[in-house]
Amino acid sequence: MLRSSNARSRCYPISRLLVFIILPIIIAGLLAAAGCSQPVTSDRDPPGGQFHVYFNNDSLTEGHTVCDAVFPVLRSSPEPIDEPSAALEALFPGPTPEERAQGYRSFFSARTAGLLKHLKIESGTAYLDLRDKRTELAGITSSCGSAEFFSQIQHTLGEYPEIQRIIFAIEGNPGVFYDWLELECDQSNDDCDPAPFALPSD
């Protein structure tokens, strides 16, 4: 794994999400604009953490559409990355234009950048609560589309050994998610029990 445990910088006023999706050279520019003295240039490794997110890429499968075949792309952050939620925040905006030009593809795009509502990990289970973007992600309700969706998330979170399984919800309701994806509530998703998705303020 390429995740780093570098010490956290206190000089990054832009949002964490933006930090994850821009290139190191752009990060350097933003840091300079924000008045940070720490130099970041494109010809050296960025300080902080590196991690992978996963997308499909037909050019890596001999031109064939293999719905659940996903491949890693590197994301860098000046902050140490040890939170799976950070990886999801980097996954959900989808491939960069440069990556799309290289054949990486996903239903995730700028329209789904805010998809992550909350992630809680408890006893090996990741409770992944999504915002309601069913319109933007309508294509994932097919057999191939769902394979792409699940594979990208499972591989991205698969880099975190504390996660053994994932249960999904939309706006705190797993029943809505699994009904939308035409999956049944059963033991594999704890019968769509909404209790673990309750936020502390609920």
Partner: protein, 229 residues
Amino acid sequence: MYKVKFYKGNYSARQKKANNDNAVAYIEHHFNSSSSSTASYAVVITGSNASRTSKNWGRWYAKAVARFFGTQVSGDDGILVGGWNGRGDGNVRHTNMPAILLEPLFASNPQHADIIRSESGQTDLARILAESIQRFFPDGGLIAFSVGHKYKKSSPNDRGAALTGGGTEADHAEKVLKKAAAMLEGVATISMDRTIRVMQGDNLLFETAVDEDALVVWDPDRGLLNIPE
């Protein structure tokens, strides 16, 4: 010979009603989708508890669609038993009769989307489905149709994937099923003979019965379909 009934409500309720009505076959129509605009194959999902009839029927349909539209089949020779990691299994697993979930074309593929939107494409898909039903259920009976995504009480606004260029998966699946229903309900008798047909679009130009064992050979260079005497 055939009566067709469209079932609505949540998927489990649809299947339960079809069971109660003693339907002889159950079909749920979807279209596939991918983030790739070039994805191009036909696949049929059967329940994890599918009978041999369901599997053979699904493979026959998927291969017929792939041959007609010049695509491929995916899965296990055209079928995904139990769906992809369980997806789609619950849509057909609760039936007492043979059941298949169709994904003949990709809504995300611009060429496929044009076919799906066109009257002729819908008719072609409907004809393949109707012929598959006549082949596997030649004694007739009640045929249960279910439009994927649409008419669910749990999410009444669900229409499935967007068709590239406009339209929705569910609305066009419904159009195909309505055409197939009209074809099936117009069937008076089913010939048990092996037949050879020549069609131009919707028009049947030629039809003849041939011996079951006859080796029929198409010679594209001569433009000749040779049927041994």
